[in-house]
Amino acid sequence: MSDELKIVVLIKQVPDTSSVAGVNPDGTVDRARAKRMINPFDKFALQKALELRAEHGGVIIAISMGPPPAIEVLFDAIEHGADKGFLLSDKRLAASDTLATAYALFKCIEYIKDVDIVFTGLQTTDGDTAQTGPQIAERLNYPQITYCEDLIVENGKVKASRIIDGGVQKLEAPMPILVTVANSATRLEHKQFANVYRSKELLRDEQAKKERIQLLDLDKINADPKKVGLVGSPTVVGKTWKIGEKGGSCRLFKGAAVSKEVETLVDCLSTEGRGIEEYVR
């Protein structure tokens, strides 16, 4: 029996909020103008997949759901060493919440078949819910390990540790399984030249590109259009508003000798009833 693994990594394209492009003065993001990037948390997931494949062999399939430009993150994944990419893109998916997104990604994974491990990032920087992974696992009836820090496969079993409040759990589980990778796991290695080269080739060779990156829509994966998009999302965003600017009341000490500033600060703290005295040893 071969212990080669069929690994899926779920990767989302998100707006790059660290760049100024497309970030409005009020802090909202103009998605059309914003730069795009791979969800930083998903890099940790990809790295785990690369490590497992190096140890056991097998294939890494990156899946992304999003509008056509999301294909960029699949190229990125291939440059880092993923074997294949699938882009699920369909107008009917627009405005999907996590339940709907999880349903669509679940149908993709079903379509790909016989997967051993599904890796997701801990969360995204735009949706930021950390719930898509477990929701997919529920649909697949897979066990799951969230907040996973370390993971190895030994004798056909997954051995992993997961962060819990106040400690760590060491777990053992069978495959197939879904794992969400904590951002304290190893960071993504640099791209290898050969992979980057091969990925660039794909841009020139339409046939090769089709083999490496496949486009999917709802019909192809046999997904129920009523369970995705606006129609299939049980939640909506009702209203948004700016987080209140309290500001302005800071007592700022500057310009004097540091020792003087520190003295004044501690004096203020002790006379202004801040209750800190109680905690100084």
Partner: protein
């Protein structure tokens, strides 16, 4: 027993220690239930739960469902999922609202339950409320209408400086996870009475697919950021891992203190994720939060805005942190911190 419209809380306990987030959930649930004129129900799962159900009643639950079985001694997704779903399915109608803590337990469990019921779940809420909602979107005509008594699940949105109100009035239970530290815990009232309802759950073999080999609890007290009274927190301005040694040394002069960090410090590999404070880390509510070399990005700010006093040290007088800190020193933290330590001891030391 009619279960219509109640507010249902899944309590968070580790080793029979009720987590603070459970009291915060009850605090929020009580307010919601009062607005709706309904009951607060709580569920606690585990083994040898002893007086936990009683504590839940004293903290505001009207009915406490307990599943106390050896299989639930340690948390695992599938066993707790089975138990929670069994209890929720035992009702004639699902509760109006189901709340969970946005802890490593709640964030693991709640999405499974929501997916099972195919209902909405809003992650990491910082406020909860009840109100009316009118849906006009034409994309799905079946959703149009005005809905009373909706759960308003309010959370910081998209890593931006916005808050969003998320609604899901079309299907019950309306679910949300609440971020630890963000809501006011309910007070203890030893005179409150309530009903304790033990439940027995049948597990399936498949529920034991994941085995807990070992649980390692952090013995070091300094990790309990959420409970700490004084937090000494470091950011990218520390310039390197060694910076945290200075912080640790500084923190030794405080009782009940813990070390916090910004995401950039964590992502740089200087300190483990468990120390991260902010939108994607922990929400804290200490008496004093001392931010050293932290710029004060909105995602950091949302995690510390419940601190009673925020003291910031930053080289850059225009750093955003000075807009919401209570006290600030403009200067090099490596110069300021040793002096600050001396001065605290001199003036306030016991």
């Amino acid at each position: 027993m009619n279960n219509f419209e109640n507010v249902f809380v899944i309590a968070d306990q580790i080793q029979n220690d009720l987590r603070p987030v459970s009291m915060e959930l009850l605090g929020a649930a009580k307010e919601l239930a009062e607005k709706l004129g309904v009951k607060v129900q709580a569920l606690v799962m585990g083994h040898n739960l002893k007086d936990i159900p009683q504590i839940l009643i004293e903290r505001g639950a009207d009915e406490v469902y307990i599943v106390d079985q050896p299989e639930l001694k340690e948390y695992t997704t599938l066993t707790y999922r089975r138990a929670a779903i069994a209890v929720l399915n035992s009702f004639e109608k699902p509760p109006h609202i189901v709340l969970c803590g946005a802890t490593t337990l709640g964030r693991d469990l709640a999405p499974r339950i929501a997916a099972y019921f195919e209902t909405g779940l809003t992650a990491d809420c910082t406020e909860l409320d009840i109100g009316e909602y009118t849906h006009k979107g034409k994309a799905d005509p079946s959703k149009i209408g005005t809905f009373k008594n909706c759960l308003y699940a309010i959370r910081p949105s998209f890593g931006e400086s916005l808050k969003a109100r998320i609604l899901g009035p079309w299907k019950n239970p309306q679910m949300a996870t609440a971020r630890a530290g963000a809501m006011i815990p309910s007070r203890v009232n030893t005179k409150r009475s309530g009903e304790i309802i033990p439940m027995k759950v049948e597990f399936d073999k498949s529920d034991f697919r994941v085995k807990v080999i070992e649980t390692i609890r952090e013995v070091s007290k300094d990790l309990d950021l959420v409970k700490a009274k004084v937090i000494v927190s470091g950011g990218f301005g520390l310039g390197g891992e060694e910076g945290f040694n200075l912080l640790k040394d500084f923190s030794t002069i405080f009782n009940d203190s813990a070390i916090g960090a910004s995401r950039k410090a964590v992502d740089s590999g200087w300190i483990p994720y468990a120390h991260q404070v902010g939108q994607t880390g922990k929400t804290v509510r200490p008496v004093v939060y001392i931010a050293l070399g932290i710029s004060g990005a909105i995602q950091h700010r949302v995690g510390i805005s419940n601190s009673e006093t925020i003291i910031a040290v930053n080289k850059d007088e225009n750093a955003p942190i000075f807009q919401f800190a209570h006290y600030g020193i403009v200067g090099d933290l490596y110069e300021v911190v040793p002096l600050l330590k001396e001065q605290f001891k001199k003036v306030m030391g016991n």
